[in-house]
């Protein structure tokens, strides 16, 4: 959750993609059409009310005070009060309405993106770094959230306010309006420069926050290794430097603000001086009234404050746009291993056949070449072979985490590609090597394997694996929080939890990819027996580096360089004098030396 990776990539949008992003966001906002229309009306009303105040002051001065008409003055005052109260209610409504639209949009977006992430298949997760994927749902959505909560309304109403102010000021007195335009070039040039500089500074702050946070995270999650090698000082120094560059980036951004704000403020007050000076002279010629000068003096803040506001919010808007662009890009990522239209459920059980399967990961070399394999229902098949031979790949194809490049894999006679994904996941389960634990209790972690499993079922699974008693001794028993990634459990205990998931899932075909590598052989045998008992008659594929594990299987397949080079019973293969014999000899010799 703290991988702030990838902030440095595309954080700018060109006009073309900006347009596309806007159109698409518009489509997503369609359910909120009515609310959107109302909120536009409210924003207009609110903006108008902000100009009405100064205008009523002018009216009061010119029609009331100057000619001595107390009635007109009271009218102005009364109207002012009404406008102020109206603005109050309009403002309340618009904040709620815009909030509801914005937050609703964000919720829809979050759910949609996550749903899509869940549909996306392993090839996608191979290509993309986890940190980048996570940052889509965190820092990207957060920058949208920030905009929705703090900036969007102000951005829109500031822009409106500038436009309306210019129009109204020009209508009241075009001469004075022209005077107001004198500092305009300065404001424009400063704003453009500010815009450019501050955007760069903003991106560099974001980037450095990202790298500070990832150094921080690595320093915390790697603290054990750091202490083991007595490297605390070096890491503290490294972090200090990161932290310092972040400070520098913050200061650069503050410096940019520190010159820009004065320019705008100076322009504002300079204009006031001009209005008073030139306007004052004009009143002596009766070109403008005193009320008009008051109106201008009071309205200038309506002109210059929004300019400043816009420049400051522009960064936020820009990065929100970029974030949306990236999120839409993610939503458009095609699902490679998807469900065909007209897919049917897999039969409850059946043999597995791998027929002429070749496979290559996205970028290259074939990893599996023309593999043929038939696994009978209820058989226990072990796969062995050197690192990188393709054992895990074969297992993943059997569970349809990938689709073969060539050939096909069937379960009970049905091509996996014609099966519904839900039935597939229900029948076939893969237990990976890492006993990955989620934050939560031991029970929660087992329950992952079966939606809505009761405590009784969960406990039975733990019991079957033989760890229920062991965990019951913990402070909170089976409801013990395992802490981050299970830091309270031993390495083997984590794998046992993971295996209990398999017991709970109770699939027709179970694939154990080195799922018992951290267990002592005694426990491993117990677990195997338990699974066998539990999954009586079910098919099991085990991948193991310990040949003692393969020795217990019905048949052993030896995978080497992407081919299934040998297959047969353990005894036959040992006798055959091939690859397996050699492997086994090394293995036994290791033992013999002990």
């Amino acid at each position: 959750m703290f991988s702030m990776a990838s902030v440095s990539e595309e954080d700018q949008l060109d006009a073309e993609s900006a347009k596309r992003v806007l159109r698409r966001a518009g489509r997503m906002l369609r359910p909120y059409r009515r609310q959107l229309r109302w909120s536009i009306l409210l924003i207009l009303l609110y903006t108008a009310s902000q100009l009405a105040g100064p205008y009523l002051v002018k009216y009061g001065i010119d029609r009331g005070i100057k000619p001595g008409d107390r009635g007109a003055l009271d009218l102005a005052v009364g109207l002012y009060l009404v406008v102020a109260l109206l603005a109050f209610f309009v403002n309340r409504l618009q904040v709620v309405l815009v909030g509801r639209i914005g937050e609703g949009f964000l919720r829809d977006l979050r759910v949609r993106v996550f749903d899509h992430l869940q549909r996306l298949s392993m090839p996608f997760y191979d290509r993309e770094k986890a940190g980048v994927i996570i940052s889509r749902m965190t820092s990207d959505v957060d920058s949208l959230q920030e905009l929705v909560q703090l900036g969007l309304l102000q951005f829109v109403s500031s822009a409106l306010l500038i436009v309306i102010s210019v129009v109204v000021l020009a209508v009241v007195s075009w001469q004075l309006m022209l005077i107001c335009l004198i500092p305009l070039p300065l404001v424009v040039v400063a704003s453009v420069k500010f815009q450019r500089d501050s955007n760069r500074a903003y991106l560099s702050v974001r980037d450095r926050i990202g790298s500070m946070l990832s150094t921080l995270q690595e320093g915390i999650s790697g603290v054990r290794v750091i202490q083991a090698f007595a490297r605390e000082d070096v890491e503290v120094g490294r972090f200090g430097r990161r932290n310092r560059t972040l400070y520098d980036a913050h200061m650069r951004s503050v410096k940019i603000q520190a010159w820009y704000l004065p320019v705008i403020e100076m322009a504002g007050l300079g204009t006031t001086a001009l209005v008073v000076g030139v306007g004052g002279w004009m009143t002596t010629r009766e070109i403008v009234t005193v009320g008009t000068i008051a109106f201008f003096v009071l309205s200038l803040s309506n002109l210059f404050e929004p300019v400043q506001m816009l420049s400051q919010l522009f960064n936020q808007v820009q990065s929100a746009g970029a974030a949306l662009h990236k999120l839409f890009g993610l939503l458009d990522t095609p699902v490679e291993v998807g469900e065909r239209p007209g897919a049917v459920d897999l039969p409850p059980s059946g043999p597995v056949r791998v027929e002429g399967v070749s496979f290559a990961y996205a970028d290259g070399e074939p990893v599996l070449r023309d593999v043929d394999l038939a696994i009978a229902e209820g058989e226990r098949l072990a796969l062995v072979g050197p690192t990188g031979a393709g054992k895990s790949t074969l297992a993943k194809l059997i569970a349809r985490l990938y689709d073969p490049t060539e050939g096909r894999i069937t379960f009970g006679g049905l091509d996996l590609r014609d099966a519904t994904l839900s039935s597939l996941r229900e029948r076939i389960t893969v237990v990976p090597q890492e006993g990955f634990l989620f934050n939560g209790t031991i029970r929660d972690n087992v329950r992952v394997a079966k939606r809505g499993a009761t405590d009784v079922e969960v406990d039975a699974a733990l019991e079957a694996i033989g760890v229920r008693e062991r965990f019951s001794l913990l402070r909170d028993g089976l409801d013990t929080e395992v802490r981050e990634r299970g830091s309270r459990l031993s390495a083997g205990e984590k794998q046992l939890v993971s295996l209990a998931r398999a017991a709970l899932a109770d699939p027709a075909l179970l694939v154990l990819d080195e799922a018992t590598s951290s267990l002592d052989p005694g426990t491993e045998v117990l677990v195997e027996q338990a699974l066998e008992r539990l999954m009586h008659g079910r098919t099991v594929v085990v991948i193991a580096h310990r040949l003692s594990t393969s020795a217990r299987a019905d048949r052993v397949g030896v995978v080497d360089e992407g081919r299934l080079v040998e297959i047969g019973t353990h005894d036959d293969l040992v006798a055959a004098g091939g690859r397996y014999t050699a492997l086994f000899d090394t293995w036994v010799r290791g033992l013999a030396r002990a």
């Binding site: 005052v77 007050l269 690192t387 031993s490 580096h545 000899d585």
Partner: protein, 624 residues
């Protein structure tokens, strides 16, 4: 202030004291800003009343120029005021963050076992930001306060009743801003909390995607996320509703003041008791005060928030590291690395666990073991029997509850921590590599190591070959931004890292579990070389690795249950046979002394005997 946050205050004040000069400059700059800001409306008043109203062109020009000067002052100093305020605030944030990180690096393992990375990160991130937000307000608030005061004095002196009407509602702005800020804050915290929870679900689901896909847990995760997204929507809307209650009211109040100014002030002008310019100035002053008053209200709420945050930071900073250097550290004598456990008793006890809780189950209970200098010992035991715990006690990651651990005769608690850690190299069972180049990861113990030394370590760990196969070789980045290596490859880099540190005691905690059987002998040969001249403890379940050791120690029930050679233990220890699943111990024993120990056996050459030999081997294999 409520007592729980008083320590938070102390932390903030100590930091402020250190930066008092910078803050003083910020305040001084702010006061100049106030002068410029407050004089401008007054100058407009003069320009209207003494220039425009009387039609005096020269006066108009003079006042207009003065307005420009005031504008120049307030504009320049508004920038400077901001600059100094942020400089100090960002600096304290950076300093505190440095301190926090340094402290975390010194805190003991049991602290980190209980603490969550996310929690600690938010101490160093969001909490320090709260403190920063407060400190930035301090110099700003002082000049704002002076501004409010000055404006009040000016207005009261012009016309007391009108001043009362104009400013009457403004104290409410202050009160309302304060209440707004303190009402809003809990919802903001809730929003943050919910966002963090949602991010947690995303992080776990993506990092654990293999588990999610493997178990078909997508619907479960989807439901979890939907719930989090709904919760987040709820709290965000709560926060929006509070915003909608207070924000418009905060805008309304000054407007009421303006209405009063126009109403009562207008009649005053008509009665000739007030200049028209003064009326306009009143208007401008009310507008001028809006932000300073809002900020005064905010700082009260912000200060409470900052104190609460600082309190949380303080809690970490005030957690004393348990594993620290003794007052007078005894230097480790030069030695071969004798390791001695003397009646060690140990239980994990999380420091963060509620004090009233029960103590965790004792993991080690009267653990006695002497490992001679240069000896290699294999620790064998069932899952959860405490092997890793034994390993972690040697470099003093935890302190024993009773008994002692000695390296070359010195109790590890009596030596400098750094020296102990340098003397012991541990390869953890879960490999942690840093996002850096392979070379930097291997040279972790000694960043200045020669490339030749790095390569030697990699060769010994059996990693050189695959590293060279990577396009950038040793310069290849690994981790989040680089190559993802297989489990076996990662383990070998971790072994190389420990070898490069050249410790006198080397501990390998199940460090070869992911190495495939074809590499077995390579690793074994390499490790055999590494073990020469140093004490080695290996934890393993595999025969080849156990075979590396001179002696095997069976850990069971928190103590040494048996010790001897592998063959001896197979012969004598029922428990050892159980742990190794060695049903046919005697066969294996015979096998150990038999023909298989030095060759291919008869399988290939003697087909008729294959079954029998295979059977024996089968049983031997079981006994790994």
């Amino acid at each position: 202030m409520p007592p729980p946050s008083s320590e938070g205050w102390q932390l903030i004040f100590a930091q402020l004291r250190a930066q008092r000069w910078g803050l003083a400059i910020g305040v001084a700059v702010g006061l100049v800003w106030t002068v410029g800001k407050v004089s401008a409306p007054k100058l407009v008043e003069r320009a209207i009343d003494r220039g425009i109203e009387v039609g005096d062109g020269a006066a108009i020009t003079r006042w207009a120029l003065l307005i420009a000067v005031a504008g120049l002052i307030s504009a320049t100093f508004t920038g400077l005021r901001r600059y100094f305020a942020f400089r100090e605030a960002r600096w304290s944030e950076a300093e505190l963050r440095d301190r926090l990180f340094a402290h975390l690096q010194r805190l003991h393992f049991s602290f980190h076992d209980e603490a969550q990375t996310g929690q600690l990160m938010s101490r160093a991130n969001t909490d320090l930001q709260q403190v920063q937000n407060f400190i930035v307000l301090i110099p700003l608030t002082i000049s704002n306060g002076v501004t409010v005061l000055a404006v009040t004095v000016i207005l009261v002196r012009t016309n007391a009743l009108l001043a009362l009407l104009a400013l009457g509602t403004l104290p409410l702005v202050n009160v309302l801003a304060k209440r707004f800020s303190s009402r809003l804050h809990p919802t903001m915290v809730a929003v943050q909390q919910e966002s963090a929870e949602l991010a947690g679900v995303v992080e776990e689901t993506v990092s654990g995607v293999r588990v999610v896909k493997g178990f078909g847990a997508e619907p479960v995760q989807r439901e979890r996320l939907r719930k989090e997204a709904d919760d987040l929507y709820e709290v965000s809307m709560q926060s929006t509703v509070i915003r909608s209650r207070y924000w418009p009211a905060l805008e309304l109040l000054p407007n009421l003041g303006l209405v009063a100014v126009l109403g009562y002030g207008g009649h005053l002008v008509l009665d000739g008791r007030l200049g028209l310019g003064a009326l306009v100035a009143f208007n401008a002053y009310v507008v001028l005060l809006i932000w300073p008053l809002r900020m005064l209200g905010m700082i009260v709420a912000q200060s409470q928030r900052a104190a609460a945050s600082a309190q949380r930071v303080h809690e970490v900073l005030s957690t004393e590291p348990i594993v620290v250097d003794p007052a007078r550290p005894v230097p480790l004598p030069p030695g071969g690395g004798e390791v001695r456990f003397e009646a060690v008793t140990f239980a994990y006890s999380g420091v963060l666990a509620n004090a009233g809780g029960r103590v965790e189950r004792t993991v080690l209970d009267g653990f006695d073991l002497i490992i001679a200098p240069g000896e290699s010992v294999a620790l064998v035991g069932a899952t959860g029997s405490g092997k890793s715990t034994v390993a972690k006690l040697v470099p003093r990651f935890y302190d024993v509850d009773a008994g002692a651990v000695r390296i070359d005769g010195v109790d590890v608690r009596h030596a400098a921590v750094r020296e102990v850690r340098k003397a012991v190299g541990l390869v953890f069972e879960e490999t942690f590599l840093f996002s850096d180049t392979i070379a930097a990861n291997i040279a972790f113990a000694d960043p200045d190591a020669e490339p030749a030394a790095i390569e030697r370590a990699a060769r010994l760990a059996g990693a050189h070959e695959f590293i060279c196969a990577l396009p950038e070789g040793y310069g290849a980045e690994i981790g989040e931004r680089g190559y993802s290596l297989s489990g076996g490859q990662r383990q070998r880099i971790a072994i190389a890292r420990a070898i490069l540190a050249d410790p006198r005691v080397l501990i390998l905690d199940d460090a070869t579990s992911a190495v495939d059987p074809t590499k077995e002998h390579e690793i074994r040969d390499a490790l055999a070389e590494v073990m020469i001249g140093r004490t080695t403890i290996v934890i393993a379940h595999r025969p080849a690795t156990i075979a590396l050791a001179d002696r095997v120690v069976l850990v069971d029930g928190g103590a040494v249950a048996a010790t001897g050679t592998h063959a001896e233990l197979l012969a004598t220890s029922e428990r050892y046979r159980e742990v190794l699943a060695a049903a046919a111990a005697r066969d294996a024993e015979r096998l150990g002394a038999g023909p298989c120990s030095d060759g291919d056996g008869g399988a290939a050459t003697d087909p008729t005997g294959a079954g029998a030999v295979g059977g024996e081997r089968f049983q031997a294999g079981l006994a790994d």
